[in-house]
Symmetry: C2
Amino acid sequence: MITDNNSSETKISASRRIEHALVDSITSGELEPGLRMDEIGLAEKYGVSRTPVREALNRLVAQGILVTGEKRGLFIAEYSREELGQIFEAMHEIEITCARIVSQRLTLLTRSEIEAAQAVCMKAAKDGDRKKYLRANEAFHETIYRATGNPYIAEIANRFRRRTGPFRARRFLNNDDLISSAKNHENLISDIFSENSNKATNGMRNHMTESFLQALKAN
Amino acid sequence: MITDNNSSETKISASRRIEHALVDSITSGELEPGLRMDEIGLAEKYGVSRTPVREALNRLVAQGILVTGEKRGLFIAEYSREELGQIFEAMHEIEITCARIVSQRLTLLTRSEIEAAQAVCMKAAKDGDRKKYLRANEAFHETIYRATGNPYIAEIANRFRRRTGPFRARRFLNNDDLISSAKNHENLISDIFSENSNKATNGMRNHMTESFLQALKAN
DNA sequence: TACGTATAATTTGTATACAATATATCGGAG
DNA sequence: CTCCGATATATTGTATACAAATTATACGTA
């Protein structure tokens, strides 16, 4: 959902605020998959009534971040090994498509943005700042999505990233993992910047395969 | 959103009922893009209060079927020529991905299902039953999505189909258009059934290009 | 003790109320 | 006659209330 522009001075409704807060907590892995979302508890926590909480939860369900389980209530989506394989495959395919498109449509601006995003990743990795790296890594991939010039494709890719967030977050255990991930980006970038569709496709394929393997190990 | 199983004897909430009714009316082109969704009007029409209507509308927004316009209120999404190009490109890429995956994973069951779906299309086309053909065509594509064996990819594809529904619906003007579309399916099927990824990719590419051209003409 | 049943406590879905805000209508000044 | 501003109207977002349905608890019986 093509989120709202500039955060500054935009009057934001309680339901949006809660939605964003929850997406943040969930994708970062702070709230664990399987956890039940308690309407009343959330309402109290955010100092509002159930109504805006329900709106927020509804939107998260539509995004696949929450699901209705066996019991009553909404739960943070959790996936069996097989489902995890499927959802990563889907993300994989979208990412590859993005990489191919970007490699065909590079501009000075998009090249710069991608390099800038990568610089932030590298710095966070070298500083050993795990939390910062997680954010920078997400931003890096989002930059690639945007560089397709197609907001609809970018949105799909972002949604998959949000849904798989909690499972990917677990994989960065030590500082070497961060460095290794950032180095991977370098290869990916050079494949995309080659403006060769096949190279870009394979570059992203490798990057995602790597990423998936580590996620599988960690789950 | 992986809709609820068997329609029979499933107790369905008012908000779901309204959501489904609206999705139906919108994707079939019955309600035109740009139309404003009036909460109060809908509440009266369906004999409920604003609350369930709002829930339904919220979900449609999350699916990109409704958008917030300049003025107050929610509107059926309408797209500029450029946006239409982008959204069709996105759908195009997903469909191609589906076709490739299906061609690599055909089973006796999925082959049969695809052929059965096509038979329904052909019959509707020959009968000149436009409304029936529209439904059969959607079902045909959905069958292909499901044949990927990956519900997450299938869901994405279905969502794009719903979003572009109103624009594709316009293109079938006379009976020849129906026949022509159904014949196109035959080629697509033989490309997919060849179990050759490249053939399947190109087959779907051609099919979608054709479809997009006609949609552009009609919009 | 284990099971089934009645009762209590939660929880969901919907209705209604209301304040805040955006849009429309109207009237007057230039 | 056109533009501006004040007032009226409509609409959104949120709060609260409540019935229906689900889940948990307690109790009695075999």
